[in-house]
């Protein structure tokens, strides 16, 4: 089996995980769960999803050097800021 | 391995990005135009003092008041802000008229002074009404205090 097919398979798994996480997020909303822990949990799911998209769909995960990181950093900085803001307002 | 970085792509981003953000700007402008009636005090323009205010604005422009003053923060920074002069002068058009009238023709030695424009009573009225109208525009709370 060559690399390309493996790449696609991996992305299919990633796709399923993304769908699954989205449903969880939705049900959290649907049940109108609230509070800091819940919010941060939902945020964490979103950040993981973002990292999966960046690493596998965009293909940054297999890079060496600087270009491996922009999406991670992009998720990290606003993620942190949002966490702080929610923490302070909880 | 070499990185692709082509002029064609750079060009496409320039044209695409510009068009995109200009359209967004137009969309926001469209929304703003819809909101302005709630904020820009156009009721005053359509009311009985409307013609006076219009005359006042022409006078404001034809004497280049903006060349020394600011109006809502825009203009020259040589003389006080006038967007809120009506409130600063105790909500009085008479005080505004009195001030404009009282300027000495030869200035004040050593100090900045507003010229004496020799306005007629009607013109003074118009200018004061114009400044009152501007002071009643909803400026999101600017300036921070009456000093302008």
């Amino acid at each position: 089996m060559n690399n390309k097919v493996m790449g696609v398979r991996r992305c299919t798994w990633v796709y399923l995980v993304l769908m699954f996480f989205s449903f969880i997020t939705y049900f959290v909303g649907r049940l109108e769960l609230s509070g800091l822990t819940i919010s941060l949990f939902v945020l964490l799911l979103a950040l993981i999803k973002g990292q999966l998209v960046g690493a596998y769909f965009m293909g940054l995960g297999r890079l060496r050097g600087l270009w491996r990181w922009p999406v991670f950093i992009w998720l990290f900085i606003p993620g942190t800021l949002i966490s702080i803001a929610f923490y302070l307002s909880a | 391995m070499a990185q692709a970085f082509t002029k064609t792509m750079a060009r496409n981003i320039f044209y695409g990005g510009t068009a995109f953000f200009f359209l967004l700007f137009l969309a926001l402008t469209f929304d703003s135009m819809g909101q302005l009636p709630n904020r820009d005090n156009r009721a005053a323009l359509e009311g009985e003092f409307g013609p006076k205010i219009a005359m006042g604005k022409i006078l404001w422009e034809e004497n280049d008041c903006i060349g020394c003053h600011t109006l809502l923060g825009e203009g020259a920074y040589f003389a006080p802000e006038l967007g809120n002069v009506y409130t600063r002068f105790g909500n009085s058009t008479d005080a505004i008229k009195g001030f404009i009238q009282s300027r000495p023709a030869d200035g004040i030695p050593g100090r900045r002074s507003m010229p004496q424009f020799n306005f007629s009573a009607e013109e003074l009225d118009a200018l004061a009404e114009f400044l009152k109208y501007v002071s009643e525009i909803n400026t999101a709370g600017w300036p921070p205090n009456t000093q302008g």
Partner: protein, 463 residues
Amino acid sequence: MTYKSQSVAKLYFIAAIALFAAQILFGLILGLQYVMGDFLFPHIPFNAARMVHTNALIVWLLMAFMGAAYYLVPEESETELFSPLLAILMFWIFLVAAGLTVAGYLLVPYSTLAELTGNDLLPTMGREFLEQPTITKLGIVVVALAFLFNIGMTILKGRKTVINLVLLLGLTGLAVFFLFAFYNPTNVVLDKYFWWWVVHLWVEGVWELILGSILAFVLIKVTGVDREVIEKWLYIIIAMTLITGIIGTGHHYFWIGTPEYWQWWGSIFSAMEPIPFFMMTVFAFNMVNKRRREHPNRAATLWALGTAVMAFLGAGVWGFLHTLSPVNYYTHGSQITAAHGHMAFYGAYVMINLTIISYAMPLLRGRNAANSNKSQIWEMWSFWLMTIAMVFITLFLTGAGILQVYLQRVAENPQPFMVVQDQIALFYWLREIAGLMFFGGLVVYIASFFVGQDEPEATVAQS
């Protein structure tokens, strides 16, 4: 000079420099009036001097842009100008109109000028930077259209390079957005809203295309770096400029009666506006470092690098300083704005024009590539004098602005405008001194055109 018709640029450049001198002279008068309020009163009141100061600036920048276009378009298109005669004719019309307008500002009261020129028929006067009589504005439109026609036809019949197209796009945008100068409703909010379509979309929009293309042209010439590389960076930089700058107009819509969401849109996008300027700085230095040849005109290279740095500082950094709405709430319409305006205009637009003049003038005057060493040394001295003076002007105005904002708007007992002005007079004195230094630099600059004319051209030291 490769094409004969490029020589029309010389007229434009000379007139531009003359108006530059007038602008600075009136700047000094203004600076003095800030501290000696009755200076020249009532003969040249502050507002008249200020109109000359700002309008002369705009006109000379436009003249130099046109000169730059007449110089670089034939060379880029590899063909003679479509009509040199039209270019010369338009030059004189423009110059005479500008001269008459300035004379009008100085000789008669502004209201008389308005009456004489029939402002009541189509009132457009008396708005900041657009003080010109309506008839002058119409003249500007005619000149701009003829100019665009001339340039456009030249490009059409010749080679279409990126630099040409970007320049043409910038110049067309300049003409199009100027048309909003004719829209002047009684409603002050509407008036201001679209007034910014001229002012902001000029200086933080289409003018930057002109700036970028002139800079790219000079960099290609003095560094010998491959056109392909320079052109793609030009595209990226101007793309970033417009992406951030168009919505960035919102930073003028915080407090003029426009909806409050502009505070967010304006703050966020204008916070990004320094990025393209930073890219431009990196780009210019990179290209010069990667240069494939030593150009004997070192002064032009210095101006080009200076433009990149000072535009970043003036437009980028000093703009960012007061662009976020919570900050702008306190600084709006204060000396902070003046500080930013001075350095941004100097860094971005004055310097880019001096760059192209520095590159083109020796060629227009019959040199092969550059002026004599002596002349260049004078010119480089003027670069440093003017640039350092401008840094000081900006710093002093910033100091004045911070103090003004504090005393008038932040302090527990806010004080009236004029009381505050007295308290910050020291900064105004210092600014005036820095202004004199700038004027000195300008004198050296003008002198550089006359010294060392009989000496041989500068050559490149073999390395």
